[in-house]
Symmetry: C2
Subunit: 208 residues, 2 copies
DNA sequence: CTTATAGTTGACTAGTTGGTCAAATAATAT
DNA sequence: ATATTATTTGACCAACTAGTCAACTATAAG
Protein backbone atom coordinates (compact mmCIF):
# COMPACT_ATOMS: atom_id res chain seq x y z
CA UNK A 1 0.00 0.00 0.00
CA UNK A 2 0.94 3.62 -0.35
CA UNK A 3 3.38 4.63 -3.02
CA UNK A 4 6.41 2.84 -4.19
CA UNK A 5 9.91 4.30 -4.29
CA UNK A 6 13.41 3.76 -5.56
CA UNK A 7 14.82 6.35 -3.16
CA UNK A 8 16.29 3.81 -0.78
CA UNK A 9 18.25 2.04 -3.50
CA UNK A 10 19.40 5.37 -4.92
CA UNK A 11 20.66 6.45 -1.52
CA UNK A 12 22.60 3.22 -1.08
CA UNK A 13 24.10 3.49 -4.56
CA UNK A 14 25.17 7.07 -3.95
CA UNK A 15 26.62 6.24 -0.56
CA UNK A 16 28.72 3.44 -2.04
CA UNK A 17 30.01 5.70 -4.78
CA UNK A 18 30.72 8.75 -2.64
CA UNK A 19 32.17 6.96 0.37
CA UNK A 20 34.11 4.70 -1.95
CA UNK A 21 35.82 7.67 -3.53
CA UNK A 22 36.39 9.57 -0.30
CA UNK A 23 35.47 8.26 3.14
CA UNK A 24 32.66 7.85 5.64
CA UNK A 25 33.41 11.00 7.59
CA UNK A 26 34.18 13.05 4.51
CA UNK A 27 30.75 12.45 2.99
CA UNK A 28 27.73 13.99 4.66
CA UNK A 29 24.10 12.98 4.62
CA UNK A 30 23.28 16.12 2.67
CA UNK A 31 25.76 15.26 -0.06
CA UNK A 32 24.40 11.74 -0.37
CA UNK A 33 20.91 13.21 -0.71
CA UNK A 34 21.97 15.74 -3.32
CA UNK A 35 23.82 13.10 -5.32
CA UNK A 36 20.85 10.75 -5.37
CA UNK A 37 18.23 13.46 -5.83
CA UNK A 38 16.48 12.48 -2.61
CA UNK A 39 15.42 14.96 0.03
CA UNK A 40 16.87 14.64 3.50
CA UNK A 41 13.46 14.01 4.98
CA UNK A 42 13.19 10.93 2.78
CA UNK A 43 16.64 9.80 3.88
CA UNK A 44 15.43 9.61 7.45
CA UNK A 45 12.23 7.97 6.37
CA UNK A 46 14.27 5.02 5.11
CA UNK A 47 17.22 5.07 7.48
CA UNK A 48 17.21 5.94 11.16
CA UNK A 49 20.78 7.22 10.91
CA UNK A 50 23.81 7.65 8.67
CA UNK A 51 25.31 4.57 10.26
CA UNK A 52 22.30 2.45 9.30
CA UNK A 53 22.58 3.58 5.70
CA UNK A 54 26.24 2.65 5.84
CA UNK A 55 25.49 -0.80 7.21
CA UNK A 56 23.11 -1.46 4.35
CA UNK A 57 25.58 0.00 1.87
CA UNK A 58 28.24 -2.40 3.16
CA UNK A 59 25.87 -5.32 2.64
CA UNK A 60 25.13 -4.19 -0.89
CA UNK A 61 28.83 -3.70 -1.67
CA UNK A 62 29.68 -7.14 -0.40
CA UNK A 63 26.81 -8.73 -2.29
CA UNK A 64 27.91 -7.17 -5.56
CA UNK A 65 31.54 -8.05 -4.93
CA UNK A 66 30.67 -11.68 -4.37
CA UNK A 67 28.36 -11.80 -7.35
CA UNK A 68 30.68 -10.04 -9.78
CA UNK A 69 34.13 -11.06 -8.56
CA UNK A 70 34.35 -13.91 -6.08
CA UNK A 71 31.63 -16.27 -7.27
CA UNK A 72 32.56 -16.26 -10.97
CA UNK A 73 36.20 -16.91 -10.13
CA UNK A 74 35.90 -19.33 -7.27
CA UNK A 75 33.10 -21.37 -8.82
CA UNK A 76 35.10 -21.85 -12.00
CA UNK A 77 37.25 -24.91 -12.39
CA UNK A 78 40.56 -23.22 -13.06
CA UNK A 79 43.53 -24.29 -11.01
CA UNK A 80 43.60 -23.17 -7.38
CA UNK A 81 46.58 -20.83 -7.60
CA UNK A 82 45.30 -19.43 -10.83
CA UNK A 83 42.16 -18.23 -9.06
CA UNK A 84 44.23 -15.93 -6.89
CA UNK A 85 46.00 -14.57 -9.92
CA UNK A 86 42.73 -13.93 -11.72
CA UNK A 87 41.34 -12.15 -8.68
CA UNK A 88 44.38 -9.92 -8.37
CA UNK A 89 44.19 -9.20 -12.05
CA UNK A 90 40.55 -8.22 -11.87
CA UNK A 91 41.39 -5.94 -8.97
CA UNK A 92 44.08 -4.34 -11.05
CA UNK A 93 41.63 -3.73 -13.86
CA UNK A 94 39.11 -2.28 -11.44
CA UNK A 95 41.59 0.13 -9.90
CA UNK A 96 42.88 1.15 -13.32
CA UNK A 97 39.36 1.99 -14.37
CA UNK A 98 38.82 3.93 -11.16
CA UNK A 99 41.92 5.97 -11.83
CA UNK A 100 40.88 6.62 -15.43
CA UNK A 101 37.48 7.73 -14.26
CA UNK A 102 38.10 9.66 -11.06
CA UNK A 103 41.83 10.31 -11.16
CA UNK A 104 42.37 8.23 -8.06
CA UNK A 105 43.06 4.64 -7.16
CA UNK A 106 40.33 4.17 -4.59
CA UNK A 107 41.50 0.90 -3.07
CA UNK A 108 39.24 -1.67 -1.47
CA UNK A 109 35.98 -0.14 -0.27
CA UNK A 110 35.74 -2.68 2.52
CA UNK A 111 39.30 -2.13 3.72
CA UNK A 112 38.85 1.64 3.56
CA UNK A 113 35.81 1.57 5.81
CA UNK A 114 37.41 -1.01 8.08
CA UNK A 115 40.42 1.16 8.83
CA UNK A 116 38.43 4.33 9.17
CA UNK A 117 35.66 3.03 11.37
CA UNK A 118 36.87 -0.01 13.31
CA UNK A 119 37.88 2.01 16.35
CA UNK A 120 34.97 4.40 15.94
CA UNK A 121 31.94 2.19 15.47
CA UNK A 122 31.90 -1.27 16.96
CA UNK A 123 28.81 -2.38 15.05
CA UNK A 124 30.36 -1.54 11.70
CA UNK A 125 33.65 -3.15 12.74
CA UNK A 126 31.83 -6.38 13.57
CA UNK A 127 29.99 -6.33 10.27
CA UNK A 128 33.21 -5.98 8.30
CA UNK A 129 34.93 -8.59 10.45
CA UNK A 130 32.19 -11.01 9.52
CA UNK A 131 32.57 -10.15 5.85
CA UNK A 132 36.33 -10.67 6.01
CA UNK A 133 35.67 -14.03 7.64
CA UNK A 134 33.37 -14.97 4.78
CA UNK A 135 35.83 -13.64 2.22
CA UNK A 136 38.71 -15.65 3.68
CA UNK A 137 36.49 -18.70 3.56
CA UNK A 138 36.52 -18.51 -0.25
CA UNK A 139 40.29 -18.64 -0.08
CA UNK A 140 40.37 -21.35 2.55
CA UNK A 141 38.19 -23.66 0.48
CA UNK A 142 40.52 -23.35 -2.46
CA UNK A 143 43.54 -24.00 -0.27
CA UNK A 144 41.97 -27.10 1.22
CA UNK A 145 41.26 -28.34 -2.29
CA UNK A 146 44.84 -27.69 -3.29
CA UNK A 147 46.10 -29.63 -0.29
CA UNK A 148 43.77 -32.54 -1.05
CA UNK A 149 44.87 -32.61 -4.67
CA UNK A 150 48.48 -32.66 -3.55
CA UNK A 151 49.23 -29.17 -4.94
CA UNK A 152 50.02 -27.84 -1.48
CA UNK A 153 51.80 -29.44 1.44
CA UNK A 154 49.72 -31.14 4.10
CA UNK A 155 51.55 -28.88 6.55
CA UNK A 156 49.60 -25.91 5.21
CA UNK A 157 47.37 -24.17 7.74
CA UNK A 158 44.42 -23.32 5.48
CA UNK A 159 42.78 -20.76 7.74
CA UNK A 160 45.88 -18.74 8.51
CA UNK A 161 47.02 -18.96 4.92
CA UNK A 162 43.66 -17.70 3.71
CA UNK A 163 43.83 -14.79 6.14
CA UNK A 164 47.38 -14.06 5.05
CA UNK A 165 46.27 -13.85 1.44
CA UNK A 166 43.40 -11.55 2.30
CA UNK A 167 45.76 -9.41 4.37
CA UNK A 168 48.16 -9.24 1.47
CA UNK A 169 45.42 -8.25 -0.97
CA UNK A 170 44.29 -5.49 1.37
CA UNK A 171 47.86 -4.35 1.87
CA UNK A 172 48.53 -4.23 -1.84
CA UNK A 173 45.33 -2.23 -2.35
CA UNK A 174 46.48 0.18 0.36
CA UNK A 175 49.83 0.61 -1.37
CA UNK A 176 48.15 1.10 -4.72
CA UNK A 177 45.94 3.80 -3.24
CA UNK A 178 48.81 5.51 -1.42
CA UNK A 179 50.98 5.57 -4.52
CA UNK A 180 47.92 6.28 -6.66
CA UNK A 181 49.34 3.65 -8.96
CA UNK A 182 47.22 0.74 -10.13
CA UNK A 183 50.24 -1.11 -11.53
CA UNK A 184 51.22 -1.76 -7.93
CA UNK A 185 48.45 -4.33 -7.91
CA UNK A 186 49.74 -6.25 -10.88
CA UNK A 187 53.38 -5.92 -9.90
CA UNK A 188 52.89 -7.20 -6.36
CA UNK A 189 50.33 -9.77 -7.39
CA UNK A 190 52.77 -12.66 -7.51
CA UNK A 191 53.32 -12.52 -3.78
CA UNK A 192 49.96 -14.16 -3.17
CA UNK A 193 51.15 -17.50 -4.41
CA UNK A 194 54.23 -17.35 -2.25
CA UNK A 195 52.06 -16.95 0.82
CA UNK A 196 50.49 -20.32 0.06
CA UNK A 197 53.70 -22.27 0.17
CA UNK A 198 54.21 -23.89 3.53
CA UNK A 199 57.61 -23.17 5.02
CA UNK A 200 58.56 -26.82 4.78
CA UNK A 201 58.13 -26.69 1.03
CA UNK A 202 60.71 -24.00 0.63
CA UNK A 203 64.19 -25.22 -0.12
CA UNK A 204 65.83 -22.72 2.18
CA UNK A 205 68.62 -25.19 2.83
CA UNK A 206 69.79 -24.67 -0.74
CA UNK A 207 70.51 -21.04 -0.06
CA UNK A 208 71.19 -20.62 3.62
CA UNK B 1 62.62 37.19 21.39
CA UNK B 2 59.15 37.18 22.84
CA UNK B 3 58.04 34.29 24.96
CA UNK B 4 58.78 30.64 24.48
CA UNK B 5 56.16 27.90 24.23
CA UNK B 6 55.61 24.16 24.20
CA UNK B 7 52.15 24.53 22.69
CA UNK B 8 53.22 23.46 19.22
CA UNK B 9 54.74 20.21 20.45
CA UNK B 10 51.73 19.53 22.65
CA UNK B 11 49.39 20.04 19.72
CA UNK B 12 51.38 17.61 17.57
CA UNK B 13 51.49 15.03 20.35
CA UNK B 14 47.74 15.29 20.90
CA UNK B 15 47.01 15.09 17.19
CA UNK B 16 49.07 11.91 16.87
CA UNK B 17 47.32 10.33 19.82
CA UNK B 18 43.78 11.35 18.91
CA UNK B 19 43.99 10.74 15.17
CA UNK B 20 45.86 7.52 15.85
CA UNK B 21 43.00 6.21 17.92
CA UNK B 22 40.24 7.45 15.64
CA UNK B 23 40.84 9.23 12.34
CA UNK B 24 41.61 12.57 10.71
CA UNK B 25 38.04 13.50 9.99
CA UNK B 26 36.73 12.20 13.29
CA UNK B 27 38.99 14.47 15.31
CA UNK B 28 38.34 18.20 15.25
CA UNK B 29 40.66 21.11 15.87
CA UNK B 30 38.72 21.93 19.03
CA UNK B 31 39.25 18.47 20.45
CA UNK B 32 42.97 18.60 19.73
CA UNK B 33 43.11 21.94 21.52
CA UNK B 34 41.15 20.70 24.53
CA UNK B 35 43.31 17.57 24.78
CA UNK B 36 46.54 19.52 24.71
CA UNK B 37 45.28 22.41 26.85
CA UNK B 38 45.97 24.92 24.11
CA UNK B 39 43.46 27.54 22.99
CA UNK B 40 42.27 27.52 19.42
CA UNK B 41 43.74 30.94 18.81
CA UNK B 42 47.15 29.50 19.63
CA UNK B 43 46.54 26.57 17.30
CA UNK B 44 46.21 28.97 14.39
CA UNK B 45 49.19 30.92 15.60
CA UNK B 46 51.35 27.84 15.01
CA UNK B 47 49.53 26.14 12.13
CA UNK B 48 47.78 27.80 9.21
CA UNK B 49 45.35 24.88 8.97
CA UNK B 50 44.40 21.47 10.31
CA UNK B 51 46.11 19.94 7.33
CA UNK B 52 49.40 21.66 8.17
CA UNK B 53 49.25 20.33 11.71
CA UNK B 54 48.63 16.91 10.25
CA UNK B 55 51.60 17.15 7.92
CA UNK B 56 53.87 17.98 10.85
CA UNK B 57 52.28 15.24 12.94
CA UNK B 58 53.04 12.75 10.18
CA UNK B 59 56.68 13.85 10.16
CA UNK B 60 56.91 13.45 13.91
CA UNK B 61 55.26 10.02 13.79
CA UNK B 62 57.63 8.82 11.14
CA UNK B 63 60.65 10.20 12.98
CA UNK B 64 59.71 8.40 16.17
CA UNK B 65 58.92 5.21 14.32
CA UNK B 66 62.32 5.19 12.67
CA UNK B 67 64.10 6.07 15.88
CA UNK B 68 62.29 3.57 18.09
CA UNK B 69 61.55 0.74 15.69
CA UNK B 70 63.32 0.69 12.35
CA UNK B 71 66.78 2.01 13.24
CA UNK B 72 67.38 -0.24 16.26
CA UNK B 73 66.31 -3.31 14.33
CA UNK B 74 67.82 -2.61 10.94
CA UNK B 75 71.10 -1.28 12.29
CA UNK B 76 71.60 -4.39 14.40
CA UNK B 77 73.58 -7.29 13.02
CA UNK B 78 70.97 -10.01 13.37
CA UNK B 79 70.23 -12.12 10.34
CA UNK B 80 68.26 -10.50 7.54
CA UNK B 81 65.08 -12.59 7.84
CA UNK B 82 65.20 -12.31 11.58
CA UNK B 83 64.89 -8.55 11.29
CA UNK B 84 61.49 -8.91 9.69
CA UNK B 85 60.40 -11.25 12.44
CA UNK B 86 61.59 -8.87 15.13
CA UNK B 87 59.75 -5.99 13.48
CA UNK B 88 56.51 -7.95 13.25
CA UNK B 89 56.92 -9.01 16.85
CA UNK B 90 57.42 -5.46 18.03
CA UNK B 91 54.30 -4.47 16.09
CA UNK B 92 52.40 -7.22 17.82
CA UNK B 93 53.55 -5.95 21.20
CA UNK B 94 52.61 -2.40 20.27
CA UNK B 95 49.11 -3.37 19.16
CA UNK B 96 48.63 -5.53 22.24
CA UNK B 97 49.52 -2.58 24.43
CA UNK B 98 47.16 -0.35 22.46
CA UNK B 99 44.33 -2.78 23.03
CA UNK B 100 45.12 -3.07 26.74
CA UNK B 101 45.15 0.69 27.01
CA UNK B 102 42.34 1.88 24.74
CA UNK B 103 40.36 -1.30 24.10
CA UNK B 104 41.18 -1.13 20.41
CA UNK B 105 43.83 -2.39 18.06
CA UNK B 106 44.62 0.88 16.33
CA UNK B 107 46.66 -0.46 13.41
CA UNK B 108 49.38 1.45 11.63
CA UNK B 109 48.97 5.19 12.00
CA UNK B 110 50.55 5.79 8.63
CA UNK B 111 48.38 3.25 6.85
CA UNK B 112 45.27 4.60 8.54
CA UNK B 113 45.90 8.13 7.33
CA UNK B 114 46.97 6.88 3.91
CA UNK B 115 43.68 5.09 3.29
CA UNK B 116 41.55 7.85 4.72
CA UNK B 117 43.18 10.79 3.00
CA UNK B 118 44.90 9.63 -0.20
CA UNK B 119 41.92 10.46 -2.38
CA UNK B 120 41.05 13.53 -0.36
CA UNK B 121 44.29 15.43 0.03
CA UNK B 122 46.99 15.08 -2.59
CA UNK B 123 49.66 16.78 -0.48
CA UNK B 124 49.20 14.35 2.38
CA UNK B 125 49.09 11.42 -0.03
CA UNK B 126 52.42 12.46 -1.51
CA UNK B 127 53.95 12.85 1.93
CA UNK B 128 52.92 9.33 2.94
CA UNK B 129 53.99 7.92 -0.42
CA UNK B 130 57.44 9.33 0.21
CA UNK B 131 57.51 7.82 3.70
CA UNK B 132 56.48 4.43 2.35
CA UNK B 133 59.27 4.71 -0.18
CA UNK B 134 61.76 5.39 2.59
CA UNK B 135 60.30 2.62 4.71
CA UNK B 136 60.56 0.09 1.90
CA UNK B 137 64.17 1.17 1.43
CA UNK B 138 64.99 -0.26 4.84
CA UNK B 139 63.61 -3.57 3.66
CA UNK B 140 65.27 -3.39 0.28
CA UNK B 141 68.71 -2.87 1.82
CA UNK B 142 68.29 -5.96 3.93
CA UNK B 143 67.11 -7.97 0.96
CA UNK B 144 70.08 -6.88 -1.14
CA UNK B 145 72.36 -7.91 1.71
CA UNK B 146 70.68 -11.27 1.90
CA UNK B 147 71.12 -11.77 -1.82
CA UNK B 148 74.79 -10.81 -1.63
CA UNK B 149 75.35 -13.16 1.26
CA UNK B 150 73.71 -15.94 -0.69
CA UNK B 151 70.73 -16.19 1.66
CA UNK B 152 68.34 -15.21 -1.11
CA UNK B 153 68.29 -16.15 -4.77
CA UNK B 154 69.88 -13.77 -7.24
CA UNK B 155 66.54 -13.85 -9.04
CA UNK B 156 65.02 -11.80 -6.22
CA UNK B 157 63.66 -8.38 -7.22
CA UNK B 158 64.67 -6.38 -4.14
CA UNK B 159 62.44 -3.38 -4.72
CA UNK B 160 59.24 -5.26 -5.45
CA UNK B 161 59.95 -7.70 -2.65
CA UNK B 162 60.48 -4.85 -0.22
CA UNK B 163 57.19 -3.28 -1.31
CA UNK B 164 55.46 -6.62 -1.00
CA UNK B 165 56.66 -6.97 2.56
CA UNK B 166 55.50 -3.48 3.43
CA UNK B 167 52.15 -4.19 1.80
CA UNK B 168 51.84 -7.37 3.80
CA UNK B 169 52.67 -5.60 7.06
CA UNK B 170 50.06 -2.97 6.33
CA UNK B 171 47.55 -5.62 5.37
CA UNK B 172 48.17 -7.60 8.54
CA UNK B 173 47.74 -4.42 10.59
CA UNK B 174 44.48 -3.76 8.80
CA UNK B 175 43.25 -7.25 9.61
CA UNK B 176 44.36 -6.92 13.22
CA UNK B 177 42.42 -3.69 13.52
CA UNK B 178 39.34 -5.04 11.78
CA UNK B 179 39.26 -8.14 13.98
CA UNK B 180 40.39 -6.04 16.96
CA UNK B 181 42.76 -8.89 17.63
CA UNK B 182 46.47 -8.27 18.12
CA UNK B 183 47.30 -11.97 17.86
CA UNK B 184 46.54 -11.63 14.16
CA UNK B 185 49.89 -9.87 13.88
CA UNK B 186 51.87 -12.67 15.46
CA UNK B 187 49.91 -15.42 13.77
CA UNK B 188 50.30 -13.99 10.26
CA UNK B 189 53.84 -12.81 10.86
CA UNK B 190 55.46 -15.81 9.25
CA UNK B 191 54.14 -14.83 5.85
CA UNK B 192 56.72 -12.08 5.55
CA UNK B 193 59.53 -14.53 5.09
CA UNK B 194 57.63 -16.39 2.42
CA UNK B 195 57.30 -13.19 0.42
CA UNK B 196 61.10 -13.03 0.22
CA UNK B 197 61.53 -16.35 -1.46
CA UNK B 198 61.87 -15.98 -5.19
CA UNK B 199 59.51 -18.22 -7.13
CA UNK B 200 62.39 -20.17 -8.58
CA UNK B 201 63.46 -21.23 -5.11
CA UNK B 202 60.18 -22.90 -4.40
CA UNK B 203 60.08 -26.58 -5.10
CA UNK B 204 56.63 -26.46 -6.61
CA UNK B 205 57.56 -29.35 -8.85
CA UNK B 206 57.57 -31.62 -5.82
CA UNK B 207 53.90 -31.04 -5.24
CA UNK B 208 52.32 -30.08 -8.51
C1' DC C 1 64.45 49.11 32.07
C1' DT C 2 62.64 49.44 27.82
C1' DT C 3 61.22 47.81 23.50
C1' DA C 4 60.39 44.52 20.16
C1' DT C 5 58.39 40.36 19.52
C1' DA C 6 56.34 35.68 20.31
C1' DG C 7 52.68 33.68 22.37
C1' DT C 8 47.90 33.74 24.58
C1' DT C 9 43.15 34.53 24.94
C1' DG C 10 38.24 34.50 24.12
C1' DA C 11 34.82 36.12 21.47
C1' DC C 12 33.45 35.78 16.86
C1' DT C 13 32.35 34.29 12.18
C1' DA C 14 29.92 31.60 8.25
C1' DG C 15 29.01 27.27 6.91
C1' DT C 16 28.03 22.43 7.87
C1' DT C 17 26.82 18.45 10.61
C1' DG C 18 23.39 14.68 11.70
C1' DG C 19 18.81 14.57 12.70
C1' DT C 20 13.45 16.01 13.41
C1' DC C 21 8.82 16.83 12.17
C1' DA C 22 4.24 18.13 10.65
C1' DA C 23 1.97 18.66 6.68
C1' DA C 24 1.32 17.52 1.80
C1' DT C 25 0.94 14.05 -1.73
C1' DA C 26 0.47 10.01 -4.38
C1' DA C 27 -0.59 5.41 -5.10
C1' DT C 28 -2.55 0.97 -3.75
C1' DA C 29 -5.88 -2.28 -2.17
C1' DT C 30 -10.50 -2.55 -1.10
C1' DA D 1 -14.65 6.20 -5.04
C1' DT D 2 -12.63 5.86 -0.75
C1' DA D 3 -9.74 4.84 3.03
C1' DT D 4 -5.33 3.50 4.06
C1' DT D 5 -0.70 3.84 3.97
C1' DA D 6 3.98 4.84 2.03
C1' DT D 7 6.50 8.42 0.50
C1' DT D 8 7.85 13.27 -0.21
C1' DT D 9 8.81 17.81 1.10
C1' DG D 10 10.93 21.86 3.11
C1' DA D 11 11.45 24.23 7.03
C1' DC D 12 13.74 23.70 11.19
C1' DC D 13 17.16 22.59 15.15
C1' DA D 14 21.11 22.51 18.19
C1' DA D 15 25.64 21.32 18.00
C1' DC D 16 29.69 21.48 15.76
C1' DT D 17 33.14 22.64 11.89
C1' DA D 18 37.51 25.06 10.46
C1' DG D 19 39.14 29.30 10.73
C1' DT D 20 39.67 34.73 12.15
C1' DC D 21 41.06 38.53 14.81
C1' DA D 22 42.04 42.32 17.85
C1' DA D 23 43.42 42.96 22.27
C1' DC D 24 46.32 41.28 25.85
C1' DT D 25 50.52 39.38 28.18
C1' DA D 26 54.86 37.62 29.06
C1' DT D 27 59.56 37.43 28.01
C1' DA D 28 64.06 37.59 25.76
C1' DA D 29 67.43 40.68 23.91
C1' DG D 30 69.29 45.29 23.58
Amino acid sequence: MGRTSTAKEKLITSAIELMGNRSYNAVGVQEICDHSGVKKGSFYHFFPSKRDLTLEAIDTMWGKFKEQMLDPIFNSDIKAFEKFNVLMNKSYEYQSAAKECTGCVTGCGMGNLALELSTQDEIIRQKIEQIFEEWAQYFEDVIVDAVNEGDLSVDTDPRSTAQAILAYMEGVSLMGKTFNDPTMLSRLGEGMIQLCISKKNISLEDNM
